[in-house]
Amino acid sequence: MTPQPCPSETPLVKVRDLCVRFSGTPPVHAVNSVSFDLAAGEVLGILGESGSGKSVTLKTLLRLLPERKTTISGTVEVEGRDILSLQGRALADHRGGVASMIFQDPALALDPVYTIGQQIAETVIRHEGVTRRDAMARALEMLELVRIPSAKRRLDNYPHEMSGGMRQRAMIALALACRPKLLLADEPTTALDATVQIQILLLLRELQQEMGMGVIFVTHDIGVAVEVSDRLAVMYAGSFVETGSVADIIRDARHPYSKGLLAANLVGAVPGTRLDAVPGAPPPLNALPEGCSFAPRCAHAEPACGLSPLPVWTGGGGRWARCVQASRAEALADSGARA
């Protein structure tokens, strides 16, 4: 049912009808029928609020979710390899070798009892089977690549001896140490302050272009998403509601939720007045409403919104939005043009 995004010849990542359910009472449907492609060297930004399933989607690509409690259906392919069926060594080779991840808080994601150098070297040795000496040389090279000053000395630093921005640089160095084809970034700038944030974003963008990686960048900050992405996907309650190029979505968002997110910023806000915000809260993921899950918060909701499957509006360049309104507006415009 989900429309196919722009069909490139050999997508780096191909996700079709991905559903992730966490068992429990009641079971939680964290991701519902998500499909997308990512071309090599492309940056996809997944935008959504907390609990919308962004991080879960990302972790599925590395199979990091607890196996016993998770049911995953659909297809997930990276370089044509089925990720969901990988086992043992093949899975470990995939993690960190083909695809690697940058975590939200580098203070938590780096092991406090090992130096930065040791941690990078460990991954390099694991994937490339080189000697410790060569691995350390690579670690140094990586720290220089992410522009950590006095890299040689920083190699022997423990995570707690570095500042937040420095740690995130080290985390990036660690993630890129084995030259992965795919980089998964899970809100990598959320834990940093604004000035450091932009430095890290620029660094990521630069390294991405230099190394030609595909990047999936998850964030709740629309400014950050626009800064780094080629394409955006807006996620709500476990589903993509709209995707398109950054320019298209910024200029002309079709889904009311995307419009709401774009309106909810501080630019042009008048002091003393209430900020534009999307009213209400997302539905609980264990009891999603029938049809459009945004309908209860939507200003333009109508009876047709409660019917599934929802109509999908498609535009040029792989754009689409899953919304009754958007698709009808298009139909009206079409008939108007024909008349």
């Binding site: 990091l64 470990a92 975590f103 994601a109 092991d111 694991r126 000053p149 707690h160």
Partner: protein, 293 residues
């Protein structure tokens, strides 16, 4: 680029390595250093007992029985069989420290392994293991030690065994709780994301972060173990006469408490001194090893 150049200007502290920075922090803690010196002194005293002790700890003289402290040739007096008290206290450090340290070390290895395994595997393995240990843990430790020693009979080896059994559950509990909290941390997931195998994650990332706290807890048990061992000897379990051991000496001198109270208290003073110095030492270690301060 301004932020970059500022960081460049800031002096990069040369990392001293984990153990060196722990050592530096430990040395700043006066109480812990004193405790460490006392503990080291006691250990040296135990090792070099034959060279330090002025007399044979087993050689008694009937006419010198219960000589007070300061008697000629008996600087700390003589016990109820006329043996030199100072020599017996010095030799007593050997068995007392042995009974304090060895059961805790064995329990550290066994209990630590059980706890880390249960904590890392989680689920029903954890539930079953920890509930079984809870049954043992439910007994008061003194009672459990007496029960096991009593069933096995007196003797150093049986005392050792019973104390080890007593210390496995608490150490395993601490190991389990630390491991459970570490396992959920993001760097374990990050290690997974970089393709590390389960074995490597347990060995490097879990053990590396978990051993410190478990070890510190275990050192705090050394004094408990010593007191329990002394208690066992006092009851006639554990070490048997004529061996010199502080708990046993306390027992045999208890009849003399009205005649020579200071003399009778001496083994107790030694037990107190040793246990408090080991406790303070472990406290100091705990705060020195805390990386995230």
């Amino acid at each position: 680029m301004t932020a970059e150049s500022i960081t460049q200007l800031a002096t990069v502290e040369k990392s001293r390595g984990y153990w060196r920075s722990v050592g530096a922090r430990f040395l700043r803690d006066k109480v812990a250093v004193c405790a460490g010196l006392v503990a080291a002194g006691l250990i040296l005293m135990a090792i070099f007992a034959p060279w330090i002790a002025p007399a044979d700890p087993l050689d008694g003289s009937m006419i010198k029985r219960l000589s007070p402290i300061g008697t000629e040739g008996y600087p700390l007096g003589a016990d109820e069989l006329g043996r030199d008290m100072l020599s017996r206290l010095i030799y007593g450090a050997r068995l007392s420290l042995f009974m304090g340290v060895v059961p805790v070390l064995i329990a550290f290895a066994i209990g630590g392994a059980i706890g880390v395994a249960a904590g890392y595997l989680g689920g029903w393995v954890n539930t079953i293991t920890m509930r079984v240990l809870d049954v043992l843990y439910a007994f008061p430790s003194v009672l459990l030690a007496i029960a096991i020693s009593g069933a096995l009979g007196a003797g150093i080896l049986n005392g050792l065994l019973s104390l080890t059994v007593v210390f496995i559950p608490p150490i395993a509990r601490v190991a389990e709780s630390v491991t459970t909290s570490v396992r959920k941390l993001e760097y374990i997931e990050a290690a997974q994301a970089s393709g590390a195998s389960s074995l490597r994650i347990v060995r490097d990332h879990v053990l590396g972060n978990v051993l410190g706290p478990i070890f510190v807890y275990a050192t705090s048990l050394i004094s408990v173990s010593m007191i329990l061992a002394a208690g066992l000897s006092f009851l006639g379990l554990g070490v048997s006469p004529p061996n010199a051991e502080w708990g046993l000496m306390l027992n045999t001198l208890r009849n003399a408490i009205y005649v020579q109270p200071w003399l009778a208290a001496l083994p107790g003073v030694m037990i107190f001194l040793t246990s408090i110095s080991f406790n303070m030492l472990s406290d100091g270690l705990r705060s020195a090893m805390d990386v995230k301060q």
